[in-house]
Structure formats: structure tokens, C-alpha cells
């Protein structure tokens, strides 16, 4: 049924349709609306067989999810930013134990400086935790990915993060097609755990493993993620058969068949990129798009195939490996090793900096002419940066950087439109 609703609400309703049995969460912007809505549903009795557990921290949220999942309950939580970092130890444990928890990450920057706005730093900081990571382009895809995620997680016995851009998607009202309970039930079977704490058939979960078998356990986790590379497209195809739309999968290409230049990105910025590419196509530019939906496992072979015909690729990412450049870009570069493609990294939109069509037009034209630096920082205020560098050269006690920049450029959140 078509509805006009907030992204957070859409995800909450989709999660409810998946019949979760335990939801535990701690509030943090921009994720809060999702678990608030789920909490209301549990309280109203709309989610009869679900227990909503208020916890005292994100570390507790993930710990409860681990316990609930190990006891055989379909378990869900959501977080963002500092909350994800605070639960990090348990995040690795959930994956290491092979527990199929589904978690929404409402992507937000990481401090310091503290910043509530969107980028992908939070999820990508956990890229090697062993969780699968799926990135939604729209609110429709966000809600669809949650339905697919429970199925995938439980089949693989691995946890999955569904990542959606904080505020840009979570707080956006837009049209979504909300599935029916019958559709979701037809797609998502009841949870049949591969391992469960069952008094009738006792096992222990969480053994200490020494050098004799640790690498093998780790390798098996890797092997499972490689298996996911086959399951993800298969489940997306089945999703299409039941729900009638393309959602999920490893990646989506757009106007890339004869493209010489391909822009690679993840998440909601793909919409702005596609609109820009449409305008450039209209004036004869051979440019296309590769949207990565599945960041973990990273679809190395599929990315290589998608880029093979191009002359160059530009990875535009809302994340940064400080001291290196890009994170997504490094993954893409690995996929195209030896293919002789020119590749450029563009770090953009950190901490909620708007990514505009105007900037993308200029950037992509530079990319087409191979005029980009290996690493570009889109719309960086070089004047502000250089002023601070001068200050640091001139004064030993130059003071805290963030405060100095704010004095130079204006109040927090001053340039939001």
C-alpha cells in the first residue's frame, strides 16, 4: 500500500512486519524515531509476541540482542554514531558468535568534534567486524532491505547492519509501498536457529579458542560472507517475485553500459548523482553510476564487471580514512586491480555538508578530463583550512582547532541551505 511517511516510521513498520521477538535499544539521534515507533507498537499490543527491552546503554543493547538471539529469538536493535562505537566490543562478538541480529544504523558522523549530521563514518568504522552491511538509497529500499536482512541473517547465521542515511532518509517524508503481512510472511519463514541455548539440548556458545583453531573460525566467518555474495542476489530476486520491485542485491548500475566515466557511491547521495548524470547525458557526456548496496561482503567480482568497460571511475564517499584518503575507494580499487582503470577518490558530505548537483557537475566534468587529484575533498573551505594552518605556524599555543574554525566560519549549523 502506498503511503507518504517518515523513513524511520517506514522502517519501524517493516521491522514489525518481520515479527521480531526481542527489540532492545538505546536512543540516539537520528535513529530514535525508529525504536520509539516500535516501542509504541509493542505497548499498544500491535506486536503481541515481541518484548521491548529498555536498556541503559548501547553496549547493553547489543549485549541483550546477543543473549536474546542465542536463546532463539528474532532480535532487532538500532543505533548510530557514538552509540555504535560504544557497543563496538559486543558488535564484534555478535558476528564472531554467528548470531543473526538485524540492526539499523542511521548513519551519522563520529566525533570529535561532536556532530549529529549524516555521513558514513559510523558504519564503516565497523566494516571489519564480521557483520554484513547493506546501504539503502531510498526509504523504500531501507524498508525492503530490513525484510531481506532478517531472511539473509538467519539463513547465514550472521548479523546484518542495514545502513540508512541519518536525517536525509530517517527524517524524510516520502512515498513508500508498505508490504502486507501476507507478503512478508510468504517471503520470511519463521526463525529456525542454527545454534540455540535450549535446556533440552544443552550447548555452550562462546568458547575461548586458542591458536589451534582461531584462524579456522575466522576463515569460516569469511567463507560465510563469500557465500552471502551468492545469496544476496538470489534473495533480492525472490523479493522481486513476491513484492514486485527491485530492491537490495549487491549493487545497482545506472546508465553505465557505454559510460567512459562511472561514479561509484553508496546511500542516498546516489539520487543526487543520478539527477546530475541525467543532465550530463542529455548534453552528450558518457557517464554512468554504480551504486554499491552491499558493502560487506564487498562484491569484488561484480564491481570489476561493472567497471570493466569504463575508462575511469570516481568514488564519491561520505567517509574518510584519515591518513590515507577513502575507505570505499580502497575497496573499489582492490576490485579493479590490474584492469588499467584510472581511479579517483572524492571525500564528500562529511558531518552533513550538503552534496549539491552544482558541485557534482563541476566535479564530474573534472573527472572526465582526468583533472582530479588522486584524493579530492569536495567543497572544502580551503580559506578556513589555510587560516588555521597559518595560525598554527605562527603560535605555539594555537588552541583547539574546532573552536577556532567555528569562530572563523560562524555558528554551528549555520550553512544548512
Amino acid at each position: 500500500m502506498l503511503k507518504q511517511m517518515e523513513g524511520s516510521r517506514a522502517v519501524a513498520e517493516a521491522v514489525a512486519l518481520c515479527r521480531p521477538e526481542v527489540i532492545c535499544a538505546y536512543p540516539i539521534s537520528p535513529q530514535t524515531h525508529i525504536v520509539e515507533a516500535l516501542g509504541e507498537m509493542v505497548k499498544e499490543g500491535a506486536l503481541a509476541s515481541c518484548e521491548f527491552i529498555n536498556v541503559e546503554s548501547e553496549f547493553a543493547a547489543m549485549s541483550v540482542a546477543i543473549g536474546a538471539s542465542a536463546a532463539g529469538a528474532r532480535s532487532y536493535t538500532a543505533t548510530a554514531s557514538q552509540g555504535l562505537l560504544y557497543m563496538a566490543e559486543a558488535v564484534f562478538n555478535a558476528a564472531g558468535l554467528g548470531l543473526p541480529i538485524v540492526m539499523t544504523v542511521a548513519n551519522r558522523a563520529i566525533g570529535a568534534p561532536i556532530n549529529i549530521w549524516n555521513d558514513h563514518s559510523d558504519a564503516l568504522s565497523q566494516r571489519d567486524s564480521g557483520w554484513l552491511q547493506l546501504f539503502a538509497e531510498t526509504n523504500q529500499e531501507a524498508l525492503d532491505l530490513h525484510i531481506q536482512a532478517f531472511r539473509l541473517a538467519e539463513e547465514l547465521s550472521l548479523p546484518i547492519m542495514v545502513c540508512m542515511d541519518g536525517f536525509i532518509l530517517t527524517h524524510a517524508f516520502e512515498r513508500v509501498d508498505m508490504p502486507t503481512q501476507e507478503q512478508v510472511d510468504a517471503y520470511l519463514p519463521a526463525y529456525s536457529p542454527r545454534q540455540v541455548l535450549d535446556p533440552d539440548e544443552p550447548v555452550s556458545i562462546g568458547a575461548m579458542v586458542g591458536p589451534e583453531a582461531f584462524m579456522e573460525v575466522r576463515y569460516l566467518a569469511h567463507a560465510k560472507q563469500m557465500e552471502a555474495l551468492k545469496l544476496i542476489p538470489a534473495y533480492a530476486a525472490e523479493f522481486k517475485a513476491v513484492f514486485g520491485r527491485d530492491s537490495g542485491g549487491l549493487m545497482h548500475t545506472y546508465r553505465s553500459e557505454d559510460a567512459e566515466t562511472i561514479i561509484v557511491a553508496m546511500g542516498s547521495v546516489l539520487g543526487t548523482i543520478k539527477d546530475t548524470v541525467d543532465e550530463m547525458r542529455d548534453s552528450g557526456h558518457r557517464i554512468g553510476v554504480l551504486g554499491i548496496t552491499c558493502f560487506r561482503p564487498f562484491p569484488v567480482a561484480a564491481v570489476a564487471d561493472a567497471l570493466r568497460q569504463a575508462k575511469r571511475f570516481v568514488v564519491l564517499e561520505k567517509s574518510m580514512a584519515i591518513g590515507l584518503g577513502g575507505i570505499l575507494a580502497v575497496n573499489v580499487r582492490m576490485a579493479v586491480t590490474g584492469m588499467g582503470l584510472k581511479g579517483y577518490t572524492v571525500v564528500a558530505g562529511l558531518g552533513g555538508r550538503a552534496i549539491t548537483m552544482k558541485s557534482l557537475h563541476a566535479l564530474f566534468r573534472q573527472g572526465e578530463k582526468d583533472e582530479l587529484e588522486p584524493v579530492t575533498f569536495l567543497d572544502l573551505d580551503w580559506k578556513a583550512v589555510n587560516k588555521q594552518l597559518e595560525r598554527e605556524k605562527a603560535h605555539r599555543r594555537s588552541g583547539p582547532v574546532a573552536e577556532a574554525l567555528l569562530r572563523d566560519v560562524g555558528i554551528v549549523g549555520a550553512r544548512n541551505y
Binding site: L2, Q4, E6, I116, W117, N118, T138, D165, F167, I168, H171, A172, F173, E174, R175, S268, V269, L270, G271, T272, K274, D275, G352, A354, I355, T356, M357, V412, G413, N416, Y417
Partner: protein, 198 residues
């Protein structure tokens, strides 16, 4: 695509207004996207929300920098925030005030503007009268339905009734209808050349 930017202060229902606008457009079978400016919203602080309306899927995610219409929920923002930034030439301006554009000090800015696109409505008074609370967002939406012609008043009323219930819904519907009538009359006067508000 028609793009609206709404300026107000935390507590005035700025974000709700953008969301309801998108619901009204959706009810007319159109695509719409509403989103807040993602600031650290606090009561009284300047807040911005956006709404795009189109006949095809809206993929663009940048903030609205060149709006077709601006709704100003609090005229004291005129002296604090560049509310008109990027407004298209002859774009629609709707301000919550009982003053004229001249009295607000905007006379020079809009001297050559199409007068039928410059509207004011005392939304705060209408909200107090009909709802009993100083929240100007919903009457302004009624006024907006008159000014820009991109939405029918009845769609706005449907969106109000989806969002609120009981006395609050009824009061807001009455306020929106009165605001719509006021703005419509202003525009008709402006078209006749009898410009009282600019």
C-alpha cells in the same frame, strides 16, 4: 518540480508543516519529499524545513537552495536569517504577519515582484482564534494552497485531518480555511492592481 522552503522557530511546527505539505501532495497522487534542515532544533531557535513536489520520483537529496516559494512562520527571522536566499525571481512569498511588506521593511526588495505572489496572513491570530495555541503552521498551509496553486485546499484539509484528531483537527481546519480565504482575497486584489499589501 516545485520547491518550498519554510522558515520558523523551534516549536512553531515548521517540520510538521513541511511533512503535511508532502502528505497533501501525495493525496493528490503526486510525488513529494519533505525533510528538515537537520539542525540542533531547540525551542525558539531558527528552523528550516523543505518540501519538494513533482510528478515523478524525487531523487534529489540536496537542501532546497533555489525555492519556488518561501513560507515565513515568524517575521522576526527577517532580521536574523537570510530567508530569501536563492528565491527564484517572482517566487511566492507567504509571511505570517498582520503587517504589509512595506511595514516589514521589504518594500524595496519586492518593488518589481509580481504582486500576486506576495502574500501575508495573520496566521498566529488565526491559530489562537481557532485552535487556542500560538502555532501558525497549519493556517499558513491553508494560505499556501491559495497563493501557489500547486495544491488544493481540500488536500491540505485532508492532511490536517490525517495528522490531528478531534477539536485540534477541527480548529486547524477552520484556521486553514480562513487563511485560505484571506490570501485568496489578497491575491485577487493584487491582480486587479489594488495592491494593499506591498
Amino acid at each position: 518540480m516545485f520547491q518550498v522552503r519554510i522558515h520558523g522557530r523551534g516549536g512553531q511546527g515548521v517540520v510538521t508543516a513541511a511533512e503535511m505539505l508532502s502528505v497533501a501532495a501525495f493525496d493528490e497522487g503526486r510525488h513529494a519529499q519533505a525533510f528538515p534542515s537537520f539542525g540542533s532544533e531547540r525551542t525558539g531557535a531558527p528552523v528550516v524545513a523543505f518540501c519538494r513536489i513533482a510528478d515523478r520520483e524525487i531523487r534529489l537529496r540536496e537542501p532546497i537552495m533555489e525555492p519556488d516559494a518561501i513560507i515565513i512562520q515568524d517575521p522576526t527571522l527577517l532580521h536574523q536569517v537570510d530567508v530569501f536566499a536563492g528565491l527564484k525571481q517572482d517566487g511566492y512569498i507567504l509571511i505570517n504577519t498582520s503587517k504589509t511588506f512595506d511595514q516589514l521593511g521589504l518594500g524595496d526588495m519586492v518593488r518589481d515582484w509580481n504582486p500576486a505572489r506576495l502574500c501575508t496572513v495573520p496566521a498566529m491570530e488565526l491559530a489562537l482564534k481557532h485552535v487556542g495555541r500560538p502555532v501558525p503552521n497549519v493556517p499558513l498551509l491553508g494560505g499556501f494552497a491559495a497563493v501557489a496553486g500547486v495544491l488544493q485546499l481540500e488536500s491540505v484539509i485532508k492532511a490536517i485531518e490525517e495528522r490531528f484528531s478531534g477539536k485540534v483537527a477541527a480548529g486547524n481546519v477552520a484556521a486553514a480555511r480562513e487563511a485560505h480565504a484571506i490570501v485568496k482575497a489578497e491575491m485577487e486584489q493584487a491582480v486587479k492592481g489594488d495592491v494593499t499589501h506591498a
